[in-house]
Every structure is written in C-alpha cells, then in structure tokens.
Amino acid sequence: MPRVESTLSLTFACVAMLAVGADAQDWTQREFPLAPSNATGNFVAPYFDGFYPNEDGTYTLSFGFLNRNDADLIEIALGEDNFIEPAEYDGGQPSSFPVGRSIGVFGGPRERGAFGVVVPADFEGDVWWTVTTNGYTTRVPGRLESPGPIIKGAYELSTGAMAEGSLRPGIRFSEGASYSWGVRGVEAPEELTASVGEAVEIRFWAVDRGERELGPVNMTLWKHQGPVGADVAFASLVEAQPGASPPRSGERPPGPGPVTSRDLVPLPIEGVNANQGHFSATFDSPGRYVIRIRIDNFTGHIDSTPGNQCCWSNGYVVVTVNE
C-alpha cells in the first residue's frame, strides 16, 4: 500500500537521485507491512459495505470509505478523481472524507454506509466507485453476488430486525411525512440557500425503530459534498435531555454548541422537542453543498454498532451558498 508522503534525508535523496537517475522508481508505491500509520499523506479507500433488497424489488448497494490518515481531512471533488460507473449511478458519493471515529470494539476508523446506490431487481454486473488521492487510484465494485468459489452471500445485508430487535432509525424532513430509513436514506424536499458566513438552520424528525423498547437516537453531521477546501461549521441546537446521563470520557457534552463528524448528539425523546433534530450550518465559501445527517441507535443497544453494519439511516440536505 502506498504512503504518499514522507520525509527522506535530503542528503540521502540527492545521492539516490544521482545513483539511479531522475526517473527513479516511485517508492511511494511500495508496500510496508506493519508500518506505523501516518497522520497525513495517505489516501482514501472506498469500501463496498454490502447490499440489501428494497420493498419494490430493487437493491441498495451500500458504500463507505476509510480515510487512512490519523489526522488529515481529504477532499476530492466529484469528477475524474471521484466517480461511479456506470455513469447513471454517479453523483451520490461524498467529496469530503474526514478521519473516522471508531465505535465499538471492532468498529475501526472507517465510515460505513455513507451513501447508497439503488439498482434494479434484475441488475447484473458491478457498480464501481473509483477514488484517486494525490495520484493514487483505487476502486471497489458494488455487486449482488460475490465471485469467490465458496462463500457467496458474505455481503448481503438485512432489512429485518437484528438479534435484540434493532432496526434502522427513521428520519423525515416534514412533520407530516412518513419516516424513511436506510443507507440511501431521504433527501430534504427543498434545497436551501444561504450566504457565506450566514448560519442556516435545519430541522428534521428522527425516531428509533426496533422490535424492542425504543430509545433515543443520535445525530451526526457531515459535509458530504461541497467545494474542496471549503469549511462547514456545524452547531447543534438540540437542548440536553433532562436527566440525561453525563457524557462518557471523550464524548461531547450534551446541549447546544459546535459539533464535528466525530460527535454523536442524542436527540430528545420527551418534551415539546421530542424526536426533533435541530442544527445550524455556516459556510465559509460559496458553492453547492450536500449535508449528510446520520441518525443511529448505536448507544444502548448491543446489536447496533458500525461493526454490526446496523443501525443507522442517512438524510441529505442540499444547500446553495452565495457570496
């Protein structure tokens, strides 16, 4: 696996260049088993997380990613360095790849199910997601049948209840609308507009689902798409639930305030704001953005973690930001 950047002694580098010429082998393409991870300079690995059937007979292919750095945010604009084939499925993938947060013992730092691609019931073939980071290209196929000679169903996901009864939470953007769930999720019915530096407020509704006692869900916010290098500052406007447990070590304290893509903000399940999410987004650059709202029930239910591939749902909000 390549490591895109590192530091070589200048002296050694000069000697090496003299020895083998200016067109020396690209050492960044070497593999280094057991090499320590880098804070910066590594690439984004796209992941196919599996597929599940939809009620209408179609299938949703679930894709995620791993930013292989410890610190660096990577942003890759949709286009020649970040595209999906066949082209009819292109456009829903993220352009912003923050460093992930490990949740659960076997969660790892990768972000699962960041978006979904819906293919028809009779789909055959592959949906490839290709990502190029600093000149290094890697890609994965989404497919309904694994090619391995022995194990065929390893990537099939479920839509039914998990062992303890957890299901993917529901999310909606209108009070009277039906709840939607799944990786493909739901898009806000209206696109929003804002100005640079102006906070735009977004409200939505989200509920736990499951064949068990229901509880609160968490909100996590992401810059899903947007101009490369542009920053979106999120702030939760959710009031802390009265009597809520104090945050665990490393957790963000409940209540309004700034949030990042590493924060899980519990939504209230009682009171006038029950099951409501509320946050603001402030943009430092003009352009078209897609905000992803991930709703999960990871906390409190042992059958629901990222490593289990359950249970979260996505909501997407498009915001056009003017000067």
Binding site: E55, F106, I150, Q309
Partner: protein, 448 residues
C-alpha cells in the same frame, strides 16, 4: 427513498460455504489418536489394502464426520465409498487439508492435547494405497465397526462424563438469509458457591453448527463483568484447565452470551447454544488462576487490506507475573490464512511456540499444549503474535478479492486477535513447574 421492509428477502444465500462448514460439528473429540495407528507393515503382504490398512485409519480419523447422516459431505464407511473418493482423499490428506487441524508439523510445540493431525505414516499409507489402484483386500480383514458418539452430546463427556452444569442461551430464531446476527442473552448459571472449572465445552445445536460462527461467554455478577467463561468458534471442541489451575466460576453468576450467527439458507427456530461446565470438587481451590483472554494483534486499532492484497498484523504482550501459556487459538475471518505465536525472551532470544500456516475460519481450533511443554514465560518475556491475510483469489475462502477489507464484526470484514488460556503463576510456581518437568525428563531417560 426507502420504505419499510420486513424480510421479504428472496435472494438465495449460496450454501456452498456451508457444504464445507457442514464438516464442522461432530468431528472433534474422536479423531484425536491418529498418530497411534500404524503405517504399512513390511512383514505382511506387500500390497496395501483397504480392509487391512486403510479402513482402520479412516475409523480413527475420518468416519466420525464422514458417515451417513453426519456432517461430512460424503461417507467413507465402506470400500465402495472410499474407492469413489480415493484420489480426492489422497490429495486432501497429503496437503493436510483433512483431517481439519491446521497446525504446522515442523516448527514449534508439537505435543498437543486433542490433536487431530494424521501421522505421516498414515498419510503415506493412504497415498500409496491410492497410487497402487486402491485395492479392497480380504473382507475378513475389515475391522469391526466403531460405535460413534451421539453428535448431540458433549464431546468432552467421553473424558469427563456428563457436565456438572449446562447453561443454555435463550432461544433465538435464526433467519434463512440476511446479514450476520449477534445474540447476547444473559442467563443465570445456578451455582451459589465459588467453584473452579475443570473443563468447559460450548456446543451449538446439531443443526445450528453451520450457522454459529462463534459463541463467547462471560461471567457477570450483579451486572458487573466477572471474567471470561469460554469462547467457541466453528469447529472448536472445548477447553481443559490444567491440573492445579483454576478458571473461576463466581457464586451466583450469570453467563452473558455473545453469539454470532451467520444465516445460511435454513430457518432455525428457537436455536440454543449450550455451555457444559465440568467443576472441580468444592474443596478444590487451585493454586493459580487461569484466564482465557482475547489478545489483539493490531493494538485495538483498525487495519485494512487492499483489493488483491495481503496484510500482516502483529501484537505484543507481556505479563506482570510469570505465566504458563496453556492454549493458543487464532481468530480471524475469511481472509486470515496464518498465525504464529512466538516468545521473545528477555535475553533477546526468539522462540516459535506455534505456527498455523493453512488457517481457515471453518475450524477454530484451540491448540492445547501438553502439560510438560506448555510455554513458560518469565516476567520480562514478551509474546509476539503475528497474523497473515490473503485478499487475493489464491485464498479459496475469500468471497471477493476486488474489495477493500477492514476491521469489523461481520464475516465479510476481518478480525485480528488470538485467544490465549494463561495460568498466572508466581516465582515459586514457575520454579516448581520447571523442577517437576526436569525431574520427569530425567526419570524417563533410559538407564545408561
């Protein structure tokens, strides 16, 4: 936008994997004495025959699984059976794919309890018999049929009798298709005094063996963690605690199950996992505690394997007291292909304890070291555990070499850890073990 769906899944999960995993369940305890069956007898008829030379080997090593109604994909009970699969059988034993006990024969500790490996002599007999045309021989030479244990019974019962305690997980319906499920009920043990465990065996139901990927169990007392009871994964028999050690069963404990099911095309209703526990007498206290613990190879951090790529992970561990390593069990999923256990002595010398070069997720053996060779570690010695992963098409269990593979609970993702049973000693204890071993070694040497 997606709407509600209630398991209207119509896709078929390929069952080919489980045609292989179906060889998992009952193959254990019986096929452990293969090394004792002899090879060809040079004083007898020069031609190897099925009835005289091969059938006893199959009885000892194969038939527990390969008989009608058992989990092996074909029967090897009769000459006609064996003749039909002779070439395949020869290839499988020569490559040591069967019997399914992947543990290297030429490096590390070789004296193991519950060792399923076939002897070189037996392998040579089978391959030579096949090469000679697989003759049947005199039917009068056929050994008497073996009485096989009930596959629904605990396998360690042959050695220890019925378990003193059986803890059953709450029933769970496993769907025919869909992704992995993790079932984590908590049930009471029903023992109200502190006891020491002599042996423990986790037993899926007969039908459920092909879907119970793993079943871990831990003790809880009043909701608080109180130590590990056991770990089970596909193909594992159980654990035997060495004499003098004590794996503790706390009084009034509950067992917290952590069962990983992988649906395989068959609906299972009310499936239950059973943990059989054999206890020492109440007065037995054991000199030293034995623990079964998961040791990470990746330091608890993530890892990833590139499409068509390979990976190596490595973990280190040292102990605050002298210890004895009683067993070693690699754990991974479909891309893990090998794991080793080494000790880096505080003087800088590195010793290989165990190497498993052909590991597969179909058989999670716990390699239990014989008492006199279980590795001893002084304070300052370091364990080195190394795992190797193959995400290429060369790995036949790889579902899809085009994918990136990362850490995760589900079978399509990977894990990187080992289970070690460790007896925690003190200076007096380790010196006594060394002295006892030395004394036995001297007493077993022939007179000069």
């Amino acid at each position: 936008m997606e709407m509600s769906m209630k398991s209207s899944v119509s896709r078929t999960v390929a069952v080919a994997f489980f045609a292989v995993t179906a060889t998992v369940g009952t193959g254990g305890a019986y096929a452990v004495t293969a090394q004792q069956t002899g090879g060809p007898n040079p004083d007898a008829s020069p031609a190897l025959t099925f009835t005289r030379d091969v059938a006893p080997i199959l009885q000892e090593n194969c038939q527990v699984c390969h008989q009608p109604g058992a989990i092996g994909p074909m029967s090897l009970m009769t000459y006609q059976d064996a003749r039909r699969y002779a070439r395949r059988m020869s290839r499988m034993v020569e490559q040591r794919d069967m019997p399914p006990y992947q543990y290297d024969t030429d490096v590390g500790v070789q004296h193991l309890k519950e060792d399923w490996r076939m002897s070189e002599e037996d392998i040579a007999t089978i391959t030579a018999w096949v090469a000679d045309g697989a003759p049947e021989g005199d039917p009068a030479d056929m050994p008497a049929p073996v009485e096989w244990p009930d596959p629904a019974e605990f396998r360690l019962a042959e050695q220890f009798g019925p378990p003193d305690v059986i803890v059953r997980s709450d029933p769970y319906d496993v769907p025919a298709v869909g992704q992995d499920r993790w079932w984590k009920p908590v049930v009471p043990v029903g023992v109200n005094t502190n006891r020491c465990i002599m042996a423990v065996e986790t037993k899926p139901s007969v039908v459920g063996r092909a879907v119970a990927h793993h079943a871990n169990s831990s003790f809880q007392v009043e909701g608080e963690s109180a130590g590990r009871l056991s770990e089970y994964a596909l193909g594992k028999i159980g654990e035997i605690v060495p004499d003098g050690a004590c794996r503790r069963l706390p009084a009034n404990a509950d067992v917290a199950f952590d069962v990983h099911y992988w649906p395989n095309g068959v609906d299972l209703e009310d499936d239950q996992i059973e943990v059989g526990i054999w206890l020492h007498p109440e007065e037995y206290e054991g000199e030293y505690d034995q623990t079964l613990t998961l040791y990470f190879l990746n330091g608890g951090r993530g890892y990833d394997i590139a499409p068509h790529g390979t990976l190596m992970t490595q973990g280190f561990h040292s102990f605050e007291t002298p210890v004895r390593i009683d067993s070693f069990q690699p754990h991974g999923h479909t891309r893990l292909v090998a794991m080793s256990l080494q000790v880096l002595r505080k003087n800088g010398r590195r010793e290989t304890v165990s190497m498993v070069s052909n590991w597969s997720a179909l058989w999670h053996h716990s390699h239990i070291y014989e008492d006199d060779v279980a590795p001893l570690l002084e304070v300052g010695d370091q364990l080195i555990v190394t795992g190797w992963y193959d995400n290429t098409e060369n790995n036949r269990y790889n579902p899809d070499p085009d994918q990136w593979v990362g850490i995760g609970d589900r079978t399509a993702d990977e894990m990187s850890h080992t289970w070690l049973a460790v007896t925690h000693l003190d200076e007096e204890g380790i010196e006594k073990i060394k002295a006892d071993r030395a004394a036995r070694l001297i007493s077993e040497q022939p007179d000069r």
